[in-house]
């Protein structure tokens, strides 16, 4: 199957909060410190006491490639497109640096590159996909939380588990009833 048609599965159970995905992403897309731009971030949900048990969770975030992306609707120069395979892409050349998309994204996934002065975000490492290899965050994920899988595999893996689908990303947990 064509790699670009796969989905990103985030098995929240398996995220160990190590930040390998973040740095893998920054390296792959040359998001140096100076760009102040991050396409992938791991959030920490601090220890919470629920039903007399402490829970500490980690939550990787990146562009989920929404089904109906607000960033596309808002972009004044049509620099953002959703491809047939669902991948939402920002065109560097067309972007005028107005940052409207940054404010339009409720996931905080659109990131402004302070060096190149254009918006950018996760593209599932399209260049790698086209070359036949999985996204860098997926390859380097130590806990095995990030998986780039076919629709069929995704269904199989998440059977009986809690899931939350957003565009091309599916979050899954064996613990938390996830909210969409």
């Amino acid at each position: 199957m064509n790699l670009v048609e796969k989905k990103l599965l985030v098995v929240l159970d398996c995220c160990i909060g190590c930040h390998a995905c973040e740095i893998a992403c920054r390296q792959e897309h040359e998001l140096t410190y100076e760009t102040d731009s991050k396409w992938c971030q791991v959030m920490t949900i601090k220890p919470r006491r629920i039903r007399d048990e402490l829970h500490l969770d980690y939550f990787p975030t990146m562009c989920v490639h929404c089904d109906d992306p607000l960033c596309i609707q808002c972009c004044p120069v049509d620099a953002i497109v959703k491809r047939k395979d669902g991948i939402v892409l920002v065109d560097d050349e067309k972007c005028n640096g107005c940052r409207v998309c940054v404010y339009a994204c409720s996931h905080g996934a659109m990131s402004f590159n302070e060096e190149s002065q254009v918006a950018g975000k996760c593209n599932f490492c399209l260049e790698r996909l086209e070359y036949g290899i999985e996204p860098s965050c997926v390859q380097h994920c130590i806990g095995g939380a990030l998986r780039y899988v076919t629709k069929e595999d995704l269904e199989e893996i998440t059977k009986g588990k809690h899931t939350a689908f957003f565009g091309k990303v599916c979050y899954a947990s064996s613990k938390w009833k996830l909210a969409v």
């Binding site: 190590c18 390998a20 959030m43 402490l54 339009a104 070359y131």
Partner: protein
């Protein structure tokens, strides 16, 4: 942009809203999945956090954790030489950003390293690499790299340097060392090194032995020696260091956080965990690894030995031990049985603060869900009796019969490659009785500093500083520091600094400027892992692989560790060392007995020893009795208590109740984070960005009592000194404990406040996990 700036509702940073915000909102309103009110009130970063919190929610509905996850991409083990996508040459190498030694690929294009990635063909890492490793390029090209030999031109520590040639640097160093030796005697020069990377420490020991000098390290008494020595004495090998996660049916993690600092271990652990295998974690704070635990035991810091004895008590008295294995393969069981009698769970609960039911549940699970593997690390090596806590964890693998079986703990397969056990390599026989006597600490801490130490007989830090400062029993005037940030990484930093400043001459080798090398007279630039060849087989990386490092580029005039040391050896007329021109003869020497050469190994991309389980069936265990010695003969012969016992920390609410009134909190330190390795990495901006400040973990109730809020600057005082940090409020820590991150510099250096006077018996570990402090908000 509109002028009506608003502040982010979560973090308070100003948000500049675009002019057409209304337009965006009207579009957002029609989209049901978007909580449009957030757009107005949160900055982009807080939106990601809010998204995470909203999605995960608080509705706990546990289902079976058994993920049928596909295996990772793992190619045939062949070297990829060229990457068409990037047009780059690919070098198969081994990442030494820390000492985990993960397989890695380095991509080079037109003489520049453009990328460092995990190696998908590696069965050890399966393509993964941690954030530090992925940032290796940032270290390689860092502006603070040392690239040329330099000499100090101002006062010591003033920061004025002048570039000199290698010849001048080495000649000067050799000359100064010779002068010092002539004037003050052979013991007036000491050596120091840091974490093992590759076979480095073994080679350094060879050099020290060939030169006839003692050497010290940043902290082997606090990391590595107690647990590995306990393994050697009881099991006759390093099995307790090599958990076979992939085949285990139960995993016990004790005093370590592999998610943060043993990435390849974390990978196999998580693979198995995701299949539903139960995980038991002993950690004083709810952190990355303990957050995954099915049973999390939160002991009072420093009480691991008592907890270990509690485990053994349950296992022995409930008859859960492996009778056949114990009868046939172990000695000293009755003595152990008598000892654990003293540690009934009521007693253990009182000491450790861990509820006895939880201890029982964990011990039963570990002993009965076979095969089970155990991983332990340095948290148990920094308390009042470190050898005891290590003996206890090490023997758990034996009494449960989990030794050298698939899914248990495995003895490494490195029989034929030369390593620290090979006298021809380490030249340990050159440490004569007379020399041994002069190693500082050899009388008080024989398991660390005398020939009784089966790893590296090395000088005891605190004893050494005192000798330097007092000249008693002999003067020490010169020091050769190779890759070792003593000023940051060793307890009682003030004393360390005073000692170093009092020396006549310091030669330092490092890859970057740091507080320690700033005190040097001559500075030599070493290569980072990307700039050197390496042959490494060590059980922290893999239990059966020889991995290779390859030179990809070379910056400035830096040289490999081996070359530097060999150049020095040549000038000091030290025998037994290798020619400085190339590291190859040395690598060939390492590989000699396997019948491989460096060139062949490089061509193959590494080497795997065939897997053999239950190796003890053939020749027994590598102990004097050829059995597992639960009451080990080594310590017995030295007149020591050879069984694990429990000593209360020298400073604690129990041993020093008066002091505890003034200093009511237990300070524990040394917990690793994933983004930095010891004192390294804080100058790499993309890593530092993830943790700009040292964060002190404190329970919200304790913080409230003290008037401390999240992110407040705090002052931590011990009876010795003070330091600063920022408050991180977490329910994951006991209200009577604060956790301070280690390895930060200046006023954030926790080693400023830690005592190094009272050390663990026999082995001299500083009690870094369990001292007393008080905390207040910084005014």
């Amino acid at each position: 942009m509109s002028k009506d700036n608003i502040l982010c509702k979560r973090c308070g940073t100003p948000i500049v809203l675009p002019k057409n915000i209304k337009d965006i909102l009207s579009k957002a309103e029609i989209s049901q999945t978007i909580k449009w009110d957030e757009l107005l009130h949160l900055c982009p970063r807080c939106r990601a956090q809010t998204f995470a919190e909203r999605t995960i929610g608080g509705d706990l509905q546990k289902v079976v954790r058994n993920w049928p996850l596909p295996k990772r991409r793992s190619e045939e083990r062949k070297s990829i030489r060229f990457d068409k996508r990037m047009g780059a040459t690919v070098y198969k190498s081994q990442c030494y950003i820390c000492n985990s030694g993960c397989d890695a690929l380095v991509y080079e294009k037109e003489g520049k390293v453009i990328k460092v990635e995990g190696d998908p063909s590696s069965p050890i890492t399966k393509g993964s690499l941690c954030c530090k490793g992925l940032a290796s390029k940032e270290q390689l090209y860092h502006r603070d790299r040392l690239l040329y030999p330099m000499k100090r031109i101002g006062k010591r520590g003033e920061g004025h340097w002048q570039r000199i040639s290698w010849d001048e640097a080495l000649d000067t160093a050799a000359e100064r060392f010779k002068e010092i030796e002539k004037r003050y005697g052979p013991d007036s020069i000491v050596l120091a090194t840091g974490t093992k990377r590759g076979t480095w420490c073994d080679y350094f020991m060879r050099f020290a032995n060939a030169w006839g000098k003692q050497f010290t390290s940043t902290g082997w008494a606090q990391c590595a020696i107690p647990r590995q020595l306990a393994g050697l004495m009881v099991l006759g090998g390093y099995a307790a260091e090599c958990p076979d996660f992939s085949n285990a049916n139960c995993i016990l993690i004790w005093g370590t956080n592999p998610a943060n600092n043993w990435p390849h271990h974390a990978l196999s652990m998580m693979e198995r965990w995701a299949e539903g295998i139960p995980l038991i974690v002993v950690d004083s704070e709810l952190r990355e690894t303990s957050s995954k635990a099915d049973i999390w035991l939160q002991p009072r810091p420093g009480t691991d030995a008592a907890l270990g004895l509690g485990f053994l008590n349950v296992i022995i008295h409930e008859d859960l031990y492996d009778k056949e294995f114990v009868e046939k393969r172990c000695l000293g069981f009755d003595e152990l049985k008598a000892r654990v009698q003293e540690f009934n769970l009521d007693e253990v609960e009182k000491i450790t603060w861990v509820p006895k039911d939880k201890i029982r549940e964990a011990a039963r699970l570990y002993a009965t869900r076979k095969p089970a593997c155990l991983m332990h690390s340095c948290a148990i090596e920094q308390n009042a009796d470190t050898i005891s806590s290590c003996l206890a964890t090490v023997m758990l693998t034996a009494v449960t019969g989990n030794l050298d079986i698939p899914g248990g703990n495995l003895f490494p397969m490195f029989k034929d490659i030369r390593g620290r056990g090979d006298l021809e390599y380490t030249l340990r026989q050159l440490i004569t009785e007379e020399r041994e006597k002069n190693i500082r600490g050899s009388t008080e801490y024989p398991l660390l500093s005398s020939n009784a130490c089966m790893l590296y007989p090395s000088a005891h830090n605190a004893t050494l500083w005192k000798t330097i400062l007092t000249g008693d029993p002999y003067p020490i005037k010169g020091m050769y520091i190779h890759a070792c940030n003593l000023l940051v990484n060793v307890a009682n930093s003030r004393q360390v600094e005073e000692a170093l400043r009092s020396l006549d001459f310091i030669l330092a080798v490092d890859i970057m400027m740091n507080p320690t090398v700033e005190l040097a007279d001559i500075l030599l630039p070493a290569t980072t892992w990307i700039e050197r060849d390496e042959v490494a087989s060590h059980h922290q990386a893999s239990y059966n692989a020889i991995q290779i490092g390859q030179t990809v580029v070379r910056l400035g005039e830096c040289r490999t560790n081996y070359a530097i040391i060999n150049e020095l050896a040549k000038r000091l007329d030290i025998k037994h060392m290798f020619p400085p021109e190339s590291d190859e003869p040395f690598f060939n020497f390492l590989l000699e007995k396997i019948g491989l050469t460096w060139k062949e190994l490089k061509e193959r991309g590494g080497y795997y020893f065939p897997n053999v389980y239950k190796k003890y069936e053939r020749n027994g265990f590598n102990t004097p009795s050829k059995k597992v010695e639960l009451a080990n003969s080594k310590m017995k012969n030295l007149g020591m208590d050879s069984l694990p016992r429990y000593l209360e920390p020298d400073e604690s609410p129990i041993s020093t109740p008066e002091l505890a009134k003034e200093y009511p909190l237990i300070i524990t330190t040394g917990g690793r984070v994933s983004i930095f390795r010891h004192s390294e990495g804080r100058n790499i901006p993309i890593l530092r960005d993830l943790m700009p400040h040292p964060l002190m973990s404190i329970h919200p109730l304790t913080a409230e009592e003290l008037g401390i809020k999240e992110g407040d600057d705090v002052v931590v005082e011990t009876p010795r000194a003070w330091m600063e940090a920022k408050a991180y409020l977490t329910e994951g820590i006991h209200p009577k404990v604060v956790q301070l991150p280690s390895h930060w510099i200046n006023e954030y250096n926790v080693n400023m406040v830690m005592d190094n006077e009272r050390c663990a018996p026999y082995i001299g570990s500083a009690q870094l996990r369990c001292q007393l402090c008080r905390v207040k908000r910084k005014k």
